[in-house]
């Protein structure tokens, strides 16, 4: 029941938001998301032995059930989702926003979809939520954002929808092979593993294209920088902090576990793609002058490292644990990054690095926050980013893959480049001479609250990462 409420509360709150006619809908959305956060935190505490589950009848003639399971990784991402949404609502509190009730309604619906994706233990249910998360985001991106938002979002939608459809073919194929026709995870897992090698390889492609587009992994990433740039910041946060995790999470739960034969066959290909993505995105990030595009490319590089971790296959499973930690931390850090970008853009009216400078003089708190979040983004020790990346590299180092050292060195190169472009951005925005005479205000109270939550988590989890391992179990 606890798990079900994590999906139903945002869903119901979202529907109610649509009907709400005045500005107090903001308070309603915040209250609903805080309630969700409370339940998620409680669920993480009681879920010590992966005991949380929910199972009810759904479509009996198909053998589909409403089957939810909270294991370590899903609870981690549920918690992340539950944290990010209130932070968005808090920092958006004072921002002028048109059609606020539609905005909050769609946001809460996408939260319900995300929760469902992370919790679903039934393949058809998973597919439902996978799409449910996408549709509200499509409307969010297209309604609020930059000038080119409509075609850009449409490209994003067609990309991901095509991926979903290919996955649907894979889902039906797997389903037809199961004994007694069921979508249950355990049965799917056994069925998938017992399929002949050739079929597993083809199925792997069908699933991986869907997940790879969502992550996004090179060369399926072309929708991503445009979409991040054009959509408004709250939506960018949902996309980059949470929706990309859908791809990573699904790869672990529904691909690597289900199709071991296919995974073994394609591991090297995926790892090469991931490393290419890391280097390629880092190099492009270095020459970006738009802050949003820069962070978008940096995100591709980070995701590349995580997908490398999924396929590292080290004997002790360190990479997998590192991946889980890093998924959470990346979500927190990139949320912080986008918050800063939004504040800069709101105050200076531009995101162009060439037109920015000297923020530390007029807005010192903002500059400090930016530096801390940037440090976390490049994984400096004592920040949360360090823990995850360290474990990922450790895992890749111990990997049984014959080329693991090459992959590790190249991925390490990506980290160094990451420091180059991130610090370059900090330097250009926060320091140097002020390029405009505009006097900017420092952080407002609600922005401060949002930043405190983010920075608090960055330092807390950097110093005491054991909290996260408790959730992983």
């Amino acid at each position: 029941m606890i798990l079900l409420s994590l999906i139903l509360i945002p869903f119901a709150a979202g529907i109610i938001s649509f009907l709400w006619k005045n500005d107090s809908v903001k308070g309603w959305a915040l209250a609903a998301s805080l309630l969700t956060l409370g339940i998620a935190a409680f669920a993480c505490m009681v879920n010590t032995s992966n005991s949380l589950m929910f199972n009810a009848n759904w479509i009996s003639s198909l053998g589909a059930r409403i089957n939810l399971l909270g294991n370590g990784m899903s609870m981690m991402l549920v918690l992340l989702t539950a944290i990010v949404f209130p932070v968005i609502f808090i920092t958006q509190w004072n921002k002028p926003q048109t059609e606020i009730h539609r905005f909050t309604g769609l946001m809460l619906l996408s939260q319900a979809g995300l929760m469902g994706v992370f919790l679903a233990n039934d393949l058809l249910l998973f597919y439902f939520f996978w799409e449910l998360a996408l549709i509200p985001v499509y409307f969010l991106c297209s309604t609020w954002g930059g000038e080119k938002r409509i075609p850009v979002t449409f490209k994003f939608f067609v990309y991901t929808f095509l991926g979903s459809l290919l996955m649907l073919a894979g889902i039906i194929y797997l389903y037809l092979q199961t004994p007694g026709r069921t979508f249950d995870w355990e049965t799917i897992k056994q069925t998938g593993a017992s399929l002949p090698a050739m079929e597993q390889q083809v199925l792997f492609c069908l699933f991986f294209i869907a997940f790879g587009i969502k992550m996004p992994v090179f060369p399926f990433h072309t929708w991503q920088p445009d979409t991040y740039e054009q959509s408004s910041t709250p939506v960018t946060i949902v996309l980059s902090a949470l929706m990309v995790k859908m791809g990573l999470f699904a790869t672990v739960k529904w691909l690597v576990n289900v199709l071991p034969g296919g995974t073994a066959y394609w591991t090297n290909t995926v790892m090469v793609l991931s490393v290419t993505g890391i280097i390629y995105a880092s190099l492009i990030a270095m020459v970006q002058s738009d802050m949003k595009r820069l962070i978008a490319y940096s995100s591709i590089a980070h995701i590349g490292l995580m997908s490398l971790g999924i396929f590292a296959n080290d004997p002790n499973g360190i990479a997998m644990n590192g991946l889980m930690v890093q998924m959470f931390n990346h979500g927190i850090n990139i949320t912080g990054m986008w918050l800063i970008v939004a504040m800069v853009e709101q105050r200076y009216g531009t995101r162009n690095l060439r037109e920015l400078g000297g923020m530390a003089g007029s807005a010192p708190t903002m500059a400090i926050a930016m530096v801390i979040i940037a440090f976390a983004n490049i994984a400096l020790p004592l920040t949360n980013g360090f823990v995850g990346e360290f474990m990922l590299f450790h895992g890749i180092f111990q990997s049984s893959n014959p080329h693991h050292i090459t992959f590790m060195v190249l991925a390490g190169l990506g980290v160094i480049l990451g420091a180059v472009y991130t610090l370059n951005m900090v330097q250009k925005v926060a320091y140097g001479e002020a390029k405009t005479s505009v006097v900017v205000k420092d952080v407002s109270r609600n922005e401060m609250l949002g930043l405190i939550i983010i920075i608090g988590l960055i330092i807390l989890l950097g110093v005491y990462p054991k909290l996260l391992f408790g959730i992983i179990g």
Binding site: L132, L162, L166, L168, A169
Partner: protein, 449 residues
């Protein structure tokens, strides 16, 4: 209904009468069905020429209900087409009668009769807006092409009769007679004739002009109830009778399916008018329904039920929204989201359903027909992947309407006010689609075996 045209003068009365009669028909169908569900063996009628099992009666119930929804949503527009409202309704009832024959026929003659009873009222309805040249053109075109395909249908039936010695499809036995050229030619003629009636490529050329030219309320019924009924006839004949020798015709039909999907989807992309786009989209959707015929199995029969209902409700709903607007181009939808939020929301759900997005009936429609084909083995995988690529293309033209409604600025002119009852019935249609998308079992529970 036909006699009512003589005595009733007020146009509104016709709609009311049609509503009542259709409700009664739905009730009678459900009553019949409840008998069959209790285990009574259905009796054959007219010397075994007609036989209604649970599938047929359930299909009749659903189609009558869809027609009821159609009258509720489009009744006001039917009244506006011209002076002879009573006749229009009588013709629509004829179509429904033909549809009922098609779901229960056991004899090729009844099949022919059913198809003609469905077709002839359509020729008239297409041309009912007599002052409009396009409407007359649609009628003539449809009539000429339709009679041509009727000839082919008769030819096919004659060839089958020649090789089998009977019209009774239950007595067709392809094991005794080794399959010969004559019966195969007959089957091929039937594929062409059915293909014409359901607008499968390459026999689809009449569809866009006829759907575009006919008065919109009549396009709505031509694209839904008629199409679904002919599909059921197609499915029943090919799965029950020719299922055993599917190896002989499956490839031809697969190619027809792929071609239909391709032409329907690609051409729909280039349309400027939403009405014409819906005509091409109905070709594309027919491609998906053909999947059920290609599959020849029990999942296919479930698929065809769900597809018929989900597609019909969404299409009728979409036409109902369209009729509220003056301008049928995409630009005519600009800014509808602001001006008429409910109308736009309903259109959104209908379009999402047509595109096959989960949580709508359209998803399970596609799901069932795809599953049905995949059950036939990995050999059909190419068709499935191809269809999915085409489904991704279909998103393009369906979402173009969404984009116009929500993201473009404009002040759409309404042809008609949106009354409270319009809202209520659109709301019911939306609710039906979502219920089908969450619990498709409700539609299948009435199917026996």
């Amino acid at each position: 209904m036909m006699f009512a045209a003589l005595s009733v003068k007020d146009k509104k009365t016709f709609t009311l009468l049609a509503t009542i009669l259709l409700s009664v028909l739905v009730g009678v169908n459900i009553y019949e069905l409840s008998h069959i569900m209790k285990g009574e063996v259905p009796e054959a009628m007219f010397n075994g020429m007609l036989k209604y099992g649970s599938f047929s009666i359930w299909f009749n119930t659903l189609m009558t209900a869809v027609a009821l929804l159609y009258v509720l949503l489009c009744g006001r527009n039917i009244e506006k087409v011209g002076q002879h409202v009573g006749e229009y309704y009588a013709l629509i009832f004829f179509i429904l009668c033909g549809a009922n024959l098609l779901s229960g026929y056991n004899n090729l003659l009844i099949l022919f009769l059913g198809i003609e009873i469905i077709s002839i009222p359509q020729y008239i309805l297409a041309g009912s807006d007599k002052r409009n040249l396009k409407s007359s053109e649609a009628s003539l075109k449809y009539f000429l092409m339709g009679s041509f395909s009727t000839g082919i249908l008769l030819m096919g039936i004659a060839l089958l009769y020649g090789s089998m010695g009977t019209f009774d499809i239950t007595r067709f036995n392809f094991m005794e007679h080794s399959v010969n050229a004559m019966s195969l030619a007959g089957i091929l003629f039937l594929v062409v004739a059915f293909g014409f009636k359901v607008s499968a490529a390459p026999m689809h050329f009449w569809t866009p002009d006829v759907y575009d030219g006919a008065p919109t309320p009549f396009t709505a019924i031509m694209a839904t109830v008629v199409k679904a009924a002919i599909f059921v006839a197609f499915f029943r004949l090919f799965s029950e009778t020719f299922g055993g020798i599917s190896a002989h015709w499956n490839l031809v039909l697969s190619i027809v399916t792929a071609l239909t999907l391709f032409i329907g989807n690609i051409t729909a992309v280039f349309q400027q008018s939403v009405k014409r786009m819906l005509a091409y989209s109905s070709i594309a959707q027919a491609g998906f329904m053909l999947f059920a015929v290609v599959a020849v199995n029990a999942t296919g029969s479930k698929g065809i039920i769900i597809y018929s209902v989900a597609y019909s409700v969404a299409t009728i709903g979409m036409f109902a929204v369209l009729m509220k607007l003056k301008d049928y181009t995409y630009d005519g939808f600009n800014g509808l989201g602001k001006k008429q939020p409910f109308l736009a929301f309903a259109a959104t759900i209908f379009l999402l359903s047509l595109a096959g997005i989960p949580l709508t009936g359209g998803f399970f429609a596609k799901y069932f027909v795809l599953t049905a084909v995949m059950e036939q083995g990995p050999g059909m995988m190419w068709l499935v992947i191809f269809a999915l690529l085409m489904a991704a293309i279909s998103v393009y033209y369906y979402f173009k309407v969404l984009m116009a409604m929500y993201f473009k600025k404009g002040d759409p002119e309404l042809a008609d006010t949106v009354s409270g009852s319009d809202r209520l019935f659109l709301g019911i249609a939306v609710a039906l689609i979502i219920v089908m998308g969450v619990a498709p079992d409700l539609l299948l529970a009435w199917l026996k075996n």
